[in-house]
Symmetry: none
Subunit: 193 residues, 4 copies
DNA sequence: GATGAATGAGTTTTCATTCAT
DNA sequence: AATGAATGAAAACTCATTCAT
């Protein structure tokens, strides 16, 4: 860990927690500083502004997701297994970082103008991975050509995300395996017998 | 329109706009009042608090969605067509009120503790409609029994919601028909050929 | 009871309660109206303003005290028994209307400029009764001439008032007789054996 | 004066003035800040709330009174002179800080529930000093045993307080010596010849 | 006479940001 | 590099008062 990280890391972790619990607006820099055990000024020294701290967080989070997804995808050699891997990794990510994902969904997907280009870049960056897979599947002939690629991609992201959040946040008990199998089953072959 | 509505309606409409544009926290009562063309005190006289105004909005919105969905469902006589109707109505609703739905998703589905019981009641109220249909389908034998009902319901809600928002908010051009058909196709028979 | 009183009385009683519980500033016209079971406008129709309602209350209260005191004083024929009567009546009054007296002490005696002439007239009106008795006592030769009349009067008012309030408001149990005897004993012959 | 005091002191002094002139409710944090020559936020940074600022003031004031009283009491060796000292110090205190005392009387003694425990602790703290002296006097045999201790204590506090305030606030001219002697004379040997 | 919906000036409080140390 | 006291703009909310009905 380099010198810069020594201060940045505790801030990062405290920020995730506070933003998750309170949402962007309700979270205060004071509380983040206190939980990180550093002075408020230090946050401004390192990140410049609350907004920028938040964006760094989101960026870092999505990067980790992207990295994990891309790594797993690279290890498979057909669209079907690549998509299965994507679902598994994304679900796992939502499970591991569900409070972060809550923020992601409500603050980044929920808004449009507020986070401007940066949020938009983050969003479309991840989506293009899915889109590329869908398109590849059409070319390979394993995915129905009549499906709209954009809709299919966001539908996949949405079904995993909302289902995951709903399970992880609102239900006390749930079977991770059941969720995963249900999602795969629906996405690949639909609900009908 | 009775007397009570004379002042309440303009507040309602202004509130929807402002909350949609800014989100709950960023929206100010001052702006809502100004846009409604009434004094700020009038909002407090009628709604008691900003939070309560927002909740009334959400409640009214979900009620309209529920009413529309239930009405269409009642007119069909099997699970497949009922679910098709639900998808159609929900997509239509997201199309008609997309800025309202953005708030809905980010403020009500995005948070847990913040809106407490009322938001929770609203959320689970709508979900139980979907769950009942899924369960009925399993009984009828047209839906795979191995699917987890809860996951299936939230997956459906999520795929429609996120796809709709993504299309309606971020894309300039989109085909409503394509989105609808894609969603139905995925949900009922999956993406695979 | 004449027509005017039919509306004024319930307002009066509700006002006493609310002002006593909350103090002048914290008391709201809304609450007074609600407790009186009439519309807010009616209070303004009858009293013109919150301040005026309050002042009417104080005036009426002091008038009752003055009347009771004067009546008892008139029935005695020497300063000693007149003063004893005054102490008894004032203590009784503070016991009967202790919440009203709390307001009296804190809002009228506690302030100077706020209630201006009217409060001042009320205050000095009651004080002059005591002063006259003290002076008469000096002339009669039963009261020490070296005592400052003004100081003696306010000291008497203060010892009764504060003692009464302290007993009636802060102590659960107290003996009315003990308080009365203690006050008389101190005022007439001091604490020393 | 340490660093903390550099900003706290001007706030303190401005607050005393404003609260004394207006009373707690009518006083505004805006005015206190303006008179202290600092920003409004600084008051909240240092005291947290208007209520807390007020309470700190009262606490500090009573502490000074208590300290002064205790110091003088300790220097005397019998109840009579101790009580004389108490009367002198309290009267002096009311003379020096009469505007502060006005607030003290109306906001702390006038209310019950509003300032809750803290105000109650302040009140009973001071009263127990007087009570202890009275009880000691009874034991010593110099004070009449038939007097109720509680009533005697509050009567003493009340006669000094109300007399002082009445003189210092409402009369243009008064003799400090006359007031002091009159109070002592009444309290120890009563008004009668 | 009585009402109560509407008002808007005025208050407390919060908090991101700055900057002297 | 790091700090944290100070700031001030902005926001939610209150409530005495008015006035059309």
């Amino acid at each position: 860990m380099d010198r810069e990280q020594r201060k940045r890391l505790p801030i990062f972790e405290a920020a995730i927690k506070v933003f998750s619990e309170k949402g962007f607006e309700k979270a205060t820099v004071d509380e983040i500083a206190e939980r990180a055990g550093i002075a408020k000024g230090t946050i401004y020294y390192n990140y410049g502004s609350k907004k920028n701290l938040f964006l760094s967080l989101i960026e870092e989070g999505i990067e980790r997701l992207e990295t994990a997804v891309k790594k797993e995808i690279a290890r498979r050699n057909n669209v079907r297994t690549k998509l299965e891997a994507l679902i598994t990794v994304q679900l796992q990510f939502f499970d591991d970082y569900n409070s972060f994902c809550k923020v992601l969904l409500s603050e980044v997907w929920g808004r449009d103008t507020r986070w401007e280009e940066k949020a938009e870049r983050i969003r479309s960056g991840y989506f293009s991975i899915i889109k590329d897979l869908i398109d590849a599947g059409k070319v390979e002939g394993v995915i129905k050509k009549e499906l709209d690629t954009g809709t299919t991609s966001s539908a996949l992201f949405g079904m995993i995300g909302i289902a995951a959040l709903d399970r992880f946040l609102f239900e006390k008990e749930y079977s991770y395996e059941d969720i995963l199998n249900t999602l795969k089953s629906i996405f690949f072959s639909g609900i009908e017998k």
